[in-house]
Symmetry: C2
Subunit: 711 residues, 2 copies
């Protein structure tokens, strides 16, 4: 038996802090459990009351003779702590602390919350809250509504986790209005003990939960563990579909970061990475959350992107077509047999091609025959049906036909019954039979797109990992020499040496401290060359006009030397100029940026994107939190919008994407091996044609001297 | 009196084709007018019935002794035509043809629809339909529901135009559920006569309409006239706010276009252009349409982008913050006075900075004081209030306070009362007082963003036009010489000559037909040079490996000559190769693309975007339908996502945006003067630093020999 069973399916509940005053939380929660038809035994605890809502009241939990599975605590912090001690003595199996006034208000609240956490951990009791709405389980054999809200949702296969209690009330109201059913519903508040990962583990094992909706404010777990476990849950033959809204404010601190990567690594980008790696589908609005949950709850995979649309009105059919294409789907091309078959049932004025228009005067039969026909077309992966109420429309008959056909097909069907009141009986019938149904066709199409995204995730390819050897020891030595000298910024020369230890291809280069020397080095390397200022104070060399490219002769190089030194002095008169780096000109290639930043919560984040103005203006980059193996690298590269540039556009050969994948894997290994690396930009990395590898053209590495742990 | 008054506010209505059979359209529309409480006089017309729903029936419209303002016709095409003739004889003032079976089914229907249009035009009678849902006017002194739907909406200041009848029913149901009020509601079907522009003109003059919602399938008007008139209506001191959903399928024909511009000019991009130029706010979903309509209907402008958020729960406040920033708004920074004032009312645990958290136990007073305080802060342009029902929440009291404060402020206030049932009384009060209110804070924030977009449009700058002189005559001569020879594709040399006539700066160039000649020309122009294949059959020269750049010496040029000729032959052995163009190397600049394509419906569309892979992969381009003066060009340039690249990124000086504006204006003048130009790509045009102008680096022009009109 799972310890969380005591919270979701207790046989007995004590409400500690139950109150006789209507409107008080301690009264309302007790009343909601009582009137919600809870199937177990309910005990109010209040030292002053004789009975509450006619139920005999107990002075303390220890005064109850029977065993208690779940204690709901509605008491201010100090009294709550005392109650917890009694609960432990009483051997309760689970605790939910509803009251606020703990960590979120600071001061004593923080200490008490910590103490409660420690006490319960020692006693082996799981605690939900404090500062939460409570817990709801609508299953008929439990029927527990231990929450603020007097609305018990219907029973269904979707479970909900909310960090915000306030949102819960609104979501329950919204769900009631939509006839939406839940399996389990919980608000986790301050997460003193139980958090999202605990609940996801529990929900994944729960046979009554197929979809989990999460409203998350912040993840307080180790991201690597979270990703690893959730990825398992969302994959395989019996996946749990996880949909999340994450509200994250733009991190003002990030704006001040020294690297590009750092400045782009807002919390939002990091959560995008975590969700993408874990297989969580991110929603932007509560409407989307509900829309997507419906289609996943129906438990049919969309095996390809080819959908059929069946409608009795042209306009909504066009809207559905547009939104389908915007959501990554395409309209199926029917076989000749399908079109021939459709001619048997549909009038000549109908449209026999996708989107199929069965015409406004379609009754039940046309819908039924058309749906059956297109659903069995091998070119069709799923169907979107639109019904607009018109004079001949048989809403119930059509709904019944859809339900019947859906039962015998593995392909997903989504419906848009347009209108709220006229079509409500049909909508209810569809909902009862787990057919996703939406007011408007664009919502149906978007949900179908999300389903396809989910199915693609579950059927993703897994290739064997790359075997790459690193010279960790030498890299360590270089880094340590900087740390010993108290320096935080690695020069380009040493940056390149470290990258070489991790298999990166770098350019030939040497430092010059005079024009004459510069010219000599250039002769040795071979023209044309690139020249770059070297100074710990100047990170963005081009801002300082400290870079010149394509220098062809010795005299050009000498002249450039004076010019760059002058520019650098003008840019920052205080800067110590070490000299100018003379560098081999990189062979041409597609510019990308690889970077690392360190998130205060989740550690190193690896970034990838197209370089130059793509990163500056379009911000077309993706992030990754560990782990980062070959398969994750593959998906990262494919996630940027500019990906076609790497596969070759307008006569260009495809780029060496495999080497790029290896570079990403190596970069991750590097920061894992040397966690003292704080930020890093390889900008640009040139990606050459397939088979020709990549070349590092510029590198900035900064170290964090305050953090010298290794692992 | 406007002729459309007879349709929206008739004093008498005849229903021709009224029926005694419930469920038939002719019965239901009659019943809906009758039971909808119509304030005028209603006459059923049916040659066979004695009375319908107890109302005395007439054999024909001519049998009615009294004058008739509006005739509703529900008859098959041939009978409808006959009825129209009688209506004309009877001197009815307006006609709505509800029945289908006309243009949309083809054949005889097309001819009859045309004849009806012509007859009514001659008689000076306006016709709505055929194939439409009808018309609704909920104003208490009219109360006309001449539609399929038995749901009369509430009275409000938003009018609706729908091309799709099917959508109307769904929208009316949806509106009823949301308590949404309409001023006028009409379905226009086939648009035999009355169309969107007629209705927008009428609505703009209507004192009871402030916002118009349009569901458009296709615009069947001259786009230039549409844009010109709507731009006037959406501007000025008494604007009509126009919101539209346009469903447009991707134009399969466009994919086969020869130019980049042509391939990007899908109908969707063209409608984006028309809406942007006309000041119409485009919505993607019906939900958005309703959400935005609410905030515009409240008739308060958002003068800046700085909003304050007031909430009693943290989570929803964060969601609102995120969506506000995503919608182009920013959180206001309060003055010290505001923060001091807030300290008087709020508990210490509150958040006194934006978003202001008045804490879960806030009753009415805290909301009232906080709202009044932040609203009067000079740094605040508008306020978003979030209320989540908690135990101390006073929903009605808070709603009343908001209403009271809103009445005395010019700044817009939007509300999110989360939950549907618990907060419904408050929501109703807010709605009654024209305060926009949403289930979820993200919708409220997004609507506020749309309002800001609308306010910016109304307060847009208008600069004096550029005065540019063109050599139209010479351009005409060049074009005619091609047409006379039966050629459709202009070579680069002549393309450049035409561009020169319109003030474009082009490169020095000359055609070479041998390697030796090529080398001589290159010496003359000066190294380095660019070489490009010239062949009418090869439009995309780089696909054919027909372009080489940066050639430095005579021998390089000779070698390149043979190589390019060989490449071109391999690419297309059939192509006639005219030789190779030797071109001055363009001075460096930012690559943009300027193009023209011709939309079958709307004529020439001018495109602007960043060149190279930006246009290929990111499709970051905008279109324009005439007119295109300085101010429109300014806004076009600012509409692309990559605009910051032109203002200067990372040490780059700003580009010559003024010259770019002039180029766009000139390009428009060119295709207006020479409409025979079918497609055109200037790709790339180099935009140099401010003051240094632009340079055309490549040009393709194709002519349409079938269309030689000039104007």
């Amino acid at each position: 038996m799972d310890k969380l069973d005591a919270i979701f399916a207790p046989q007995s509940v004590a409400v500690i802090g139950a109150s006789t005053h209507k409107g008080k939380v301690g009264h309302d929660i007790f009343a909601n459990i009582l009137f919600g038809g809870y199937k177990g035994t309910l005990y109010p605890v209040n030292p002053k009351a004789q009975s509450i809502l006619s139920v005999k009241c107990f002075k303390s939990i220890s005064a109850i003779a029977d065993p208690i599975d779940l204690a709901m605590i509605i008491l201010p912090p100090r009294l709550a702590l005392k109650a917890i001690e009694e609960c432990i003595a009483k051997k309760v199996k689970g605790i939910v602390i509803v009251s606020a006034g703990f960590k979120e208000v600071g001061g004593e609240g923080v200490a008490i919350e910590k103490e409660i956490g420690a006490l319960c951990k020692e006693a082996g009791i799981r605690v939900v809250g404090p500062n939460c709405l409570g817990v709801i389980n609508p299953a008929p054999d439990i029927s527990l509504n231990a929450s603020f809200s007097n609305r018990m949702p219907e029973n269904g296969n979707i479970s909900f986790i909310s960090q915000s209690g306030a949102l819960c009330t609104a979501v329950l109201d919204f769900a009631a209005d939509k006839g939406f059913g839940f399996s389990k519903f919980i608000s986790i508040g301050n997460k003193a003990d139980v958090d999202e990962l605990d609940l996801l583990r529990y929900y994944h094992k729960d046979p009554n939960t197929d979809v989990v909706m999460i409203y998350m404010e912040e993840l307080t777990r180790d991201a690597e563990q979270f990703i690893r476990e959730i990825r398992e849950m969302t994959s395989g033959t019996n996946p749990t579909h996880v949909l999340a809204i994450k509200s994250g404010t733009s991190d003002a601190g990030a704006a001040a970061a020294a690297s590009h990567t750092g400045s782009l690594a807002g919390s939002d980008a990091i959560y995008d990475a975590i969700f993408a790696q874990a297989g969580i589908i991110r929603c932007q609005t509560v409407n989307e959350l509900f829309d997507y949950a419906q289609v996943f709850a129906a438990q049919k995979a969309l095996r390809g992107d080819r959908i059929a649309i069946v409608t009795n009105a042209g306009g909504p059919g066009i809207i559905a077509t547009d939104m389908s294409e915007n959501s990554g789907l395409q309209l199926a091309r029917f076989t000749d047999e399908t079109i021939k078959e459709l001619h048997k049932y549909l009038p000549l004025t109908a449209n026999f091609h996708n989107p199929v228009d069965v015409i406004g005067d379609a009754a039940k039969d046309r819908y039924e025959n058309t749906l059956a026909t297109v659903l069995s077309d091998p070119n069709v992966d799923g169907v979107l049906i639109i019904l607009t109420p018109q004079s001949m429309t048989d809403v119930m008959g059509t709904a019944e036909a859809i339900v019947k056909i859906a039962k015998n097909s593995m392909k997903p069907i989504v419906c848009s019954f347009m209108g709220i009141i006229d079509v409500s009986d049909g909508v209810k019938l569809l909902q009862k039979n787990h057919l996703p149904v939406y007011h408007f066709p664009e919502s149906a199409a978007r949900a179908m797109g999300a389903l396809y995204q989910g199915t693609k995730w579950q059927s993703r390819r897994t290739l064997p990992q790359y075997e790459i050897e690193y010279d960790r020891k030498q890299a360590e030595e270089i880094i340590n020499s900087y740390l010993e000298e108290g320096k935080e910024t690695l020069g380009e020369l040493d940056g390149n040496r470290i990258l070489q230890c991790y298999g990166f291809n770098t350019l030939q280069m040497e430092l010059a401290t005079s024009g004459e020397q510069a010219s000599r080095i250039a002769e040795k390397i071979g023209f044309p060359v690139v020249m770059k200022i070297v100074s710990s104070q100047i990170l963005h060399k081009s801002d300082a006009h400290g870079v010149m490219v394509g220098l062809e002769t010795g005299s050009e190089v000498e002249e450039a030397f004076s010019q760059i030194m002058a520019n650098a002095k003008e840019y920052d008169p205080e800067a110590i100029l070490d000299g100018i780096l003379i560098q081999q000109m990189a062979p041409s290639g597609t510019e990308v940026i690889l970077g690392v930043s360190r998130d205060p919560m989740f550690g190193h984040a690896v970034m990838f994107g197209l370089g130059g103005i793509f990163v500056e203006v379009y911000k077309d980059v993706v992030f990754n939190i560990a782990p980062l193996g070959r398969n994750v690298a593959r998906r990262m590269i494919r996630r940027i919008k500019g990906y076609p540039i790497l596969t070759g556009v307008r006569g260009q050969p495809p780029r060496d994407i495999e080497m790029l994948e290896k570079n990403l894997v190596s970069l991750r290994a590097m920061v894992t091996n040397h966690p003292v690396i704080k930020e890093l930009d390889i900008n640009p990395l040139f990606v050459h044609a397939e088979g020709d590898g990549t070349t590092v053209a510029d590198i900035i590495i900064t170290l964090d001297r305050t953090d010298q742990r290794t692992d």
